[in-house]
């Protein structure tokens, strides 16, 4: 059992949760994720380790209420427990001194980017961060990024915060005005795909962090398979980060939508059950 130490709403539909998991906190690196199962009848879902505190023995996750499991997770309170957490999983981000890096985050993608930003700064890189969302209420952790990043860009589709437009508009401006050595993008598939196209055009290396459906997260089932450079890779053990220019985004988008109907059914059942009414608010 893993106890929830702190829970806070950080943006519209987005929750931050600090969980006691000392053995994971002690070995988590940027790019790692966990797989959790709330209770005995729950499903296993992957979530990025957005931050960790070795001394306190805690990890921090950020999640968007998007389906049954995340809604139920959001209904838990400080002091409640989560049944199972396995991690840290996945390859850590290969981080070195690379010069100028640009991190591009869409919505909840900030969760993955934050530890990467911290690690890149530790290695004395110059880092520009571009965070985007549909509207200002959906921006996640912009102040936390702002404290560490060398330069911050906020972008919203409706212009309620920062610049009006898409993250790729901002990225385009950055790469046209300065030399960029690497771009790391995390967010919705279509956003990452757009970043891949833009960086390919400018001939800048780019990495994306993929979030396919997973089951056990240790390379045993193949649920998380993605095509990268024409080869099948398992995101949970070969990734989750891959060369953006080699990823087959159409395939991921299609595979991510595979259980749409079941996800809707599950969410509907949850919301109309007693649990949804008494705990879900």
């Amino acid at each position: 059992m893993f106890r929830i130490i702190k829970k806070e709403s950080v943006a519209m539909h987005v929750e931050e949760m600090v969980i006691h998991a000392p053995h994971i906190a002690g070995s988590a690196q940027a790019g790692n994720f966990i797989i959790l199962r709330i209770h005995d009848t729950g499903e296993r879902i992957p979530l990025t380790i957005a931050d960790s505190d070795c001394d306190a023995g805690t990890i921090t996750i950020l999640f968007q209420k998007a389906g049954k499991t995340t809604e139920e997770l959001a209904s838990l309170k400080e002091g409640d427990s989560i049944r199972d957490i396995a991690g840290p999983l996945g390859h850590p981000t290969p981080l070195k001194r690379c010069g100028r890096a640009v991190l591009v985050g869409g919505g909840i993608g900030s969760a993955t980017l934050f530890p990467i930003l911290k690690a890149l700064k530790k290695k004395r890189n110059r880092v520009t961060v571009i965070l985007g969302a549909r509207t200002s209420d959906l921006l996640v952790w912009e102040h936390k990024f702002g404290e560490i990043a060398d330069k911050m860009w906020l972008v919203t589709d409706d212009g309620t915060s920062g610049k009006k437009g898409f993250v790729t508009d901002a990225l385009n401006e950055v790469v046209e005005n300065e030399k960029v050595d690497i771009v790391i993008a995390v967010g919705p598939i279509r956003m990452m795909q757009a970043v891949a196209e833009l960086t390919r055009f400018h001939d800048i290396p780019a990495i994306v962090s993929l979030n396919p459906i997973m089951v056990e997260g240790t390379g045993m089932c193949g649920a998380c398979r993605v095509s990268v450079g024409g080869k099948t890779k398992f995101a949970c053990v070969d990734g989750p980060e891959f060369d953006a220019h080699e990823v087959d985004f159409e395939e991921i988008a299609r595979r991510l939508a595979f259980y749409k109907r079941e996800e809707m059914e599950s969410l509907h059942k949850y919301r109309t059950s007693c649990k949804g009414r008494c705990r879900g608010k």
């Binding site: 053995h23 994971i24 002690g26 070995s27 199962r37 009848t41 729950g42 499903e43 296993r44 049954k68 499991t69 049944r83 199972d84 957490i85 396995a86 991690g87 840290p88 999983l89 089951v215 056990e216 240790t218 390379g219 045993m220 089932c221 193949g222 649920a223 398979r225 095509s227 099948t232 053990v237 395939e251 299609r254 595979r255 595979f258 259980y259 079941e262 996800e263 059914e265 599950s266 059942k269």
Partner: protein, 453 residues
Amino acid sequence: MRARNAEKRKKDFKEVALGLTEKEAVREAKRCLQCKKPMCVTGCPVEIDIPAFISAIREKDFKRGIEVIRRYNMLPAVCGRVCPQENQCQGKCVLGKKNAPVAIGALERFAADFEAKKGVPKKPEKPKLNRRSVAVIGSGPAGLTAAAVLAKTGYKVTVFEALHEAGGVLTYGIPEFRLPRKIIEREIDFVTSLGVEIKLNWVVGKIQTIDDLLKEGYDAVFIGVGAGSPRFMEIPGENLNNVYFASEYLTRVNLMKAGSFPKYDTPVKRGKRVAVVGAGNVAMDAARTAVRLGAEKVYIVYRRTSAEMPARLEEVEHAKEEGVEILFLSSPKEIIGDKHGHVSAVRCDAMRMCEPDESGRRRPECSGNEFILEVDQVIMAIGQTANPLLTRSVKKLRLWGAGYIEVDEEGATNIPGIFAGGDIATGAATVISAMGAGKRAARAIDSYIKNKK
């Protein structure tokens, strides 16, 4: 052995094979010739004294029967159900030359089930601890057996398991209709009653390395992480929607209980017309699971002939009774998708068997014809291979083949203090061979630690 009616059992996940009644068991035991030089024992990977336990059953001393088995086999209720007896003990039985061999597997299961039913006290005496400790990685049959033997010898044993439940393939792979969950739970309870601690959700190689474990003070480590990585065919269409690897399909249903979605949160797609590729136990399990999830038609697609099928005989028969159709000499070469990227058909080569080569093995070759099988779901069950997650975190560990750990007969690796066994050392094999490996390694670990002192 009697089995439940095929039409009824197709609708649920309850155990299919019914086991022997007392009368049947005694009658079957009486068929045993009690050979002076029992061939059956030579066929058993852990050399159970088969004539001795059968003669106990014949004398209706069932308690003695199970005691004999337990001396050699830690998981009799499991092995009685899942061992490929026709290639092992029963395959060697002299009666089998003319008639049916003695049903040794069924008798083993009978003795084990008797023990469970009658609750014969098997409270193990708490062993005297010797202040030495061993880490076991993986809680499949290899790991559980090594842990139990070491704990009985007096070691403090910690088992680290990546998943949220212990048991390895017994838990996430083999379906309930073949191996009910409560049998595995009983075996695991037995192991923990010996004082073994099982740490779940613990991925060694990620949380800490084997080096870390040795530094933390474990005197030795046993690796029993299985061969859990699915093998691909590398044909076009393998990543289409509704193409599953058997391990994902079975994990969803067995470990995550997707058959009870939405009561359980994990979904699984229920195919209407399903093609399962492969003909081993995994393929049979996947096919019969698809039947139970409501498929109208399930095919097994296999490139060789019935003579080469690696699955247990009983499973093949049960699958056929449940309406699974086996297409022999058929080799998929492409999975075809519709405009949404969902499976719509499999294109197969029709094969023929060549004349035996120098090694005496007959290989299938394309006959030049092909055919199309219209299906909406494909399950790949062409084998598993080594998962590199743990092995690549151990520096200088000697591997062979596709990444299996090289061990000597006792299970020692090239690194002192690190032992391994089960599927990760042999490649995908059987429950009984994994168990045997766990037992041998436990003894080797005991003498390694004693000599180290």
